[in-house]
């Protein structure tokens, strides 16, 4: 029994899978939720997809030993950029998309450069760019449009690609999320590039001395996370035909919880893309699934907190387990 279970427990995503099963079981047994209703519902899946597209690159950045909280401002910045460029100024949507992704690339580049060129921790660097970008979005929207809310009417193809509903309720961004999971899981776990990310997060100096281009890699990961956040903001604007200057702050907390529940070590060097995916699902079910239960929704923060703590405790002990025993010994074959 233990023999078939041990390799599973050693995987970074083991605790997140148990958390996911645990929370669904809790909602079914205590909350009286109907599984068919829960899995048929779009609300939490839409929530998970938007969150997940940001959580993957931020989680990979965390595996690489850094953190990015400026994503909280990059989401409204992304929606505002596409809305101002293609809505307010009426430029082609292609220009709006390009401008949005470029803004993400630039902010990510700044985050990355500041992190590798100074000794300031990336938490502080990205706190700085978070506040700066909030200001830029507020003042920029006001200056250019005179309003805090900007309308955008995207052409049919862009609407279909970034802001349509599949069936009648599932956002198309779910597909983007699934593609991102597959692509990043491949890159992180199957390529040299992925190995460098783990090495860098495990020991920056040793990785650099071993020939890993750590500065370039760090900058790239920061660019990826800022661009992903801008992308999610852009999809939202195209979906709802308008952009607001506010919102996005909740993503900071939500991504970090999802990533940590997903088994990524906060200090870097350990984790998996599948883990981040499952952590995001778990977080989405905990926070959105509660509406399908008979549990008073005021309890949801408590449940999130307990899930996080349990997941962290499990991650900790599974990691110890992974370190302690090699597969040979664990399966009892000496």
């Amino acid at each position: 029994m233990m023999a078939s279970f041990a390799p599973f427990l050693r995987r970074p995503e083991a605790a997140s899978i148990i958390s996911l099963i645990g929370i669904v079981a809790f909602y079914v047994i205590i909350g009286g939720v109907d599984l068919v209703t829960l899995f048929g519902a779009a609300s939490w899946i839409n929530f998970a997809a938007n969150l997940g597209i940001v959580a993957i690159p931020v989680g990979i950045l965390m595996i690489g030993g850094q953190i990015d909280i400026s994503i909280g401002a990059m989401i409204p910045a992304g929606s505002m950029t596409v809305a101002i460029v293609s809505g307010h100024f009426g430029l082609p949507i292609e220009v709006g998309i390009l401008a949005t992704l470029s803004l993400g690339a630039i902010v990510g580049l700044v985050n990355g450069l500041l992190t590798v060129r100074t000794t300031v921790p990336s938490l502080i660097v990205t706190l700085g760019t978070l506040v700066v970008m909030q200001g830029v979005v507020l003042a920029g929207a006001n200056l250019l449009t005179g309003a805090a809310s900007v309308k955008i009417e995207a052409p049919a193809w862009a609407k279909a690609a970034f802001g349509s509903l599949i069936g009648s309720s599932h956002q198309v961004i779910i597909l983007w999320w699934l593609v991102a999971v597959v692509v990043f899981a491949f890159v992180i776990h199957k390529t040299r590039f992925g190995n460098w990310v783990f090495a860098m997060g495990g020991d920056l100096v040793s990785a650099r001395n071993a020939g890993v281009p750590t500065a370039r890699l760090t900058i790239m990961l920061f660019m990826l996370s800022a661009m992903s956040a801008a992308f999610v903001g852009m999809c939202g604007a195209i979906q709802f035909n308008s952009a607001q200057v506010s919102g996005g702050m909740g993503y900071i907390f939500n991504t970090i919880v999802s990533i940590v529940v997903g088994g990524v070590l906060l200090t870097g060097g350990f984790g998996s893309v599948v883990g981040i995916f499952i952590g995001t699902l778990t977080f989405a079910i905990v926070s959105q699934g509660i509406y399908f239960t008979q549990i008073d929704r005021n309890w949801s923060s408590l449940i999130i907190g307990v899930t996080l703590l349990l997941a962290v405790a499990m991650n900790e002990s599974f990691r110890k387990f992974a370190l302690r025993a090699g597969p040979r010994q664990a399966t009892g074959r000496r």
């Binding site: 390529t191 783990f198 495990g202 650099r208 370190l323 090699g326 597969p327 040979r328």
Partner: protein, 274 residues
Amino acid sequence: MSANAPILALRGVNKSFGPIDVLHDINLEVRAGEVLCLLGDNGAGKSTLIRILSGVHQPTSGTIEMDGQSVGFPTPRAAADKGIATVHQFGGTFPLMSIGRSFFVGVEPTKGWGPFKTYDRKKANEIAVKAVQDFGITRIDDGDRLVGGLSGGERQSLAIARAVHFGARVLILDEPTAALGVKQAAHVLRIVNEAKRRGLAVIFITHQVMHAMAVGDHFAVLIRGAVAADFKKGEKTREQITDLMAGGETMADLEATIEGYMASHDGHPPPPSH
């Protein structure tokens, strides 16, 4: 290839950090297939010396020669490229990576082509496991195990095997046995002997005279940043080396001082001097 020509030599090397002089006029040589033991009390400058050899620090004056040519190591990478491998106290690095993955960081084997070129886990594991087993560590047989799950001695061995595999000519070990028990330390000393047998030059830093005597061919004692003694295997006894390491004072003198102090201070030992 003369067996006597040193691979690496320090000629009149000085190092100061601002106003603090840490190393004075260091002259040392290491040869292929020879272990140089660097001995000395805490703060004598041993780590500073090897940081110069591994490209972390630059000498304030003096030269480093490799194969008779004057060289500079502006970065750790530059030193590594010239075949100087440094293994740190805990065998370094990447405790949460698998043996195969950590072994090949930066030079991962791949298979496939173009954008689908993937990390070749099987090959990496095979080579890494074989490299350590060739050093006599047969207990490591699974390249998927995490490095952090190995014992201290096994981790040292892995790091040394890795350095040798990637063509290191000079192996620098900073107190590799300091945190290890008797058995584990013996393990590492055997690996050091194996590296030496394969023709590497080894610089071995330790506080334990027994460990030094077990592997050393050549000994240098640093006292306050200067080479106070430089001798070959068999030229000095264990007691003489111990006394040298204590900074010239003999162990007997030290004991007498402590006893004298305790006698006059109600049996309390003297406070530490720094």
